[in-house]
């Protein structure tokens, strides 16, 4: 910019010079003794907008433009809300297919808000004074006489209350105050039933058929191929049962078939049926439905915390934070040739707990 039409006294050099006279907070002058002394606040320098009215006008117009565009964006928001059907999808590069309504509402709302903020900040930065001011701090601690007065007042009050002298009043009051929260604690008792042995039992019991989750049909041993993975639930448990979620949380079971000669654990083999083994699907770490079965290694991995179990070796933990093997469900075949459970799990399924033992 040219400085031709700016009055001379408005030029920065002149301003700075006149400013230096009433310099605020000049603290020290560098001298021999203290070459790093605080020279005090540097003189205030002007922005273009302070000395050139045309620049200030430009800033004003910019701010006004932002506020105006914000209004336009709000109108766009209202129009979008009314006009765009909620199930309309559009393709926006590079985002992809998305909801037109969400995109339009979000952008217009975002712009309307952002422009208000940008306008206000631009206003503050270019048109409001940018001269730095100084505030003095004051000690936070009270002066000694105030402190003395407070302490005296407190002593006086304490004395008048007689709390120190009438110990019986004091002690019984403390007793009452200490006891009454117990009623609040008592009220929490009915948040839930006592655990009892609920964590030890599932819906599985002798003779319950293994029902395929996919088809809702019982399974025959011939249905289960080596290398396959099948999820089953106990016979009689249906998805729309009231207790379905709570029951399936314990009784979900996965079935795999391993060549009997590859099964290393003797009990596992005993509890299997011709190499068909049924294990709890609930991880013994914190209860995720574990089921990332690798059919070649017979390892099953938990997707939550990567506990890894070897299904060919009694579901032994071979990696990760789980503390004990997955419980195995003992299975056999009933008279009609369907796979059935030969009893409940012999140990609690899912995460360990204090009473598990």
């Amino acid at each position: 910019m040219s400085s031709q039409d700016i009055p001379e006294e408005n030029l920065p050099a002149v301003q700075a010079a006149s400013h230096a006279e009433h310099e605020h907070g000049a603290v020290g002058v560098a001298d021999e003794k203290n070459p790093f002394a605080d020279p005090g606040l540097p003189p205030h320098e002007h922005r273009v907008q302070d000395i050139d009215e045309r620049a200030a006008k430009r800033s004003e117009r910019a701010v006004a433009l932002m506020f105006t565009l914000s209004m336009v964006a709000t109108v766009a928001f209202i129009v979008s809300y009314v006009v765009i059907p909620k199930d309309k999808a559009i393709f926006v590069f590079p985002i992809g297919h998305l909801s037109a309504l969400n995109f339009a509402l979000g952008l217009s709302l975002g712009l309307a808000l952002f422009l208000i903020g940008a306008g206000a900040v631009h206003w503050a930065r270019t048109l409001m004074s940018d001269e730095e001011l100084v505030d003095e701090r004051h000690a936070i601690s009270a002066p000694p006489e105030v402190k003395a007065k407070v302490l005296a007042d407190f002593k006086q009050g304490a004395k008048e209350s007689a709390i120190g002298r009438r110990k019986l009043v004091r002690n019984t009051m403390f007793g009452a105050l200490a006891l009454f929260p117990l009623s609040g604690v008592m009220l929490l008792r009915d948040l839930g039933p006592l655990p009892g042995t609920k964590l030890r039992h599932t819906l599985w019991s002798k003779g319950k058929l293994l029902v395929n989750m996919n088809t809702n049909e019982p399974l025959r041993p011939s249905d289960i191929a080596v290398g396959s993975l099948t999820f089953v639930k106990p016979e009689g448990l249906e998805e729309d049962d009231h207790e379905f979620q709570t029951e399936i949380a314990k009784s979900a079971v996965m079935i795999v078939r391993i060549q009997p000669d590859e099964i290393k654990d003797k009990q596992e083999l005993d509890w299997s049926y011709q190499g068909i083994v049924a294990y709890s699907k609930i991880c013994t770490h914190v209860g995720c439905p574990i089921s990332l079965y690798e059919q070649q290694t017979h390892h099953v991995l938990c997707p939550c915390h990567q506990s890894t179990f070897d299904l060919s070796d009694g579901a032994r933990v071979i990696f990760g934070p789980a503390g004990h093997p997955l419980p195995q469900l003992r299975i056999g075949v009933n008279d009609q040739g369907y796979l059935e459970a030969l009893g409940d799990f012999s140990e609690p399924v899912g995460p360990a707990f204090w009473e598990r033992g």
């Binding site: 907008q49 999808a89 940018d130 088809t215 999820f231 089921s291 990332l292 059919q295 070649q296 990696f319």
Partner: protein, 259 residues
């Protein structure tokens, strides 16, 4: 004119050959065409596969037996480029460019199917979208598949560097075959435990949530990976943008002297 006639005859011949081999395992296949295809397949097999899987498909220390794996397994492995595998294998044999024509794959498949019965290559009627229940497919997917392949099939990690691949862009036929045959460490989901209809539903669900035209109502799906990518996005673009704005808000306006 003669050239056109020759071309038409040639096309008809190829078409006839194709229709003979394509519906593998179907009864109407002509005996002699079948045996011809098997011979062709065996030739391809001895060149590309026998070094690992043995001359008669009986397997070796380098590759499993192929007796009874069925045509579906061959079609999946070869058309996704997983087979023939490179000799130096990592944790898992990856998908790569397929080097066989569909006709050659069919010949190979017919040959392997002749070694022992196994799942045949599915037809469009089996994996196509008609009559599929997408919602049921979603439920089945979350029960059987999501634990490895993620909610919408974006893949996930297995032990020791193995992984369940991203299912984006995988052909429905190959998804069907993978479920049927259980390639590599993936367990199989045979028709006896997961019905044909179940598989069709799953494929239709995947197409709905991970297809080319899938709508992500909220915008960028960030890989469909859940909170980790969301957290990264919030830090980099959310907080990053806000810090940039804060720098602008707090910065001193340029002074007149410098302009």
């Amino acid at each position: 004119m003669a050239a056109v006639v020759v071309l038409l005859i040639a096309l008809a011949a190829i078409g006839g050959l194709y229709s003979a081999v394509a519906p593998t395992g179907q009864a109407k296949a002509d005996e002699s065409a079948q045996s011809l295809t098997i011979t062709e397949g065996q030739r391809l097999y001895s060149v590309g596969c026998a070094s690992c899987h043995g001359t008669g498909g009986q397997g070796s220390s380098d590759g499993p037996s192929l007796v009874g794996v069925g045509a579906a397994a061959v079609d999946f492995q070869v058309s996704t480029g997983r087979m023939p595998a490179a000799t130096a294998q990592g944790a898992q044999i990856p998908k790569k460019r397929n080097i066989y024509s569909q006709a050659q794959i069919d010949q190979l498949a017919t040959y392997i199917a002749s070694l022992g019965t196994g799942p045949s290559v599915p037809t469009e009627a089996q994996y196509g979208p008609e009559g599929a229940d997408i919602a049921k497919g979603g439920e089945l997917f979350r029960t059987n598949c999501a634990q490895c392949h993620n909610f919408t099939g974006h893949g996930g990690a297995l032990t020791h560097g193995k992984f369940a691949p991203d299912l984006e862009g995988v052909a429905p036929k190959h998804i069907y075959e993978a479920m049927q045959t259980g390639p590599q460490n993936m367990p199989s989901f045979p028709d006896t435990t997961m019905s044909e209809k179940n598989k069709k539903d799953i494929i239709a669900y995947l197409d709905a949530v991970n297809g080319d035209d899938t709508v992500e109502p909220g915008g960028l799906s960030l890989g469909g990976l859940g909170p980790v990518s969301e957290g990264l996005f919030a830090w980099i673009f959310g907080l990053g943008a806000l810090i940039a704005v804060a720098v602008w808000v707090a910065a001193r306006t340029a002074k007149a002297k410098k302009s």
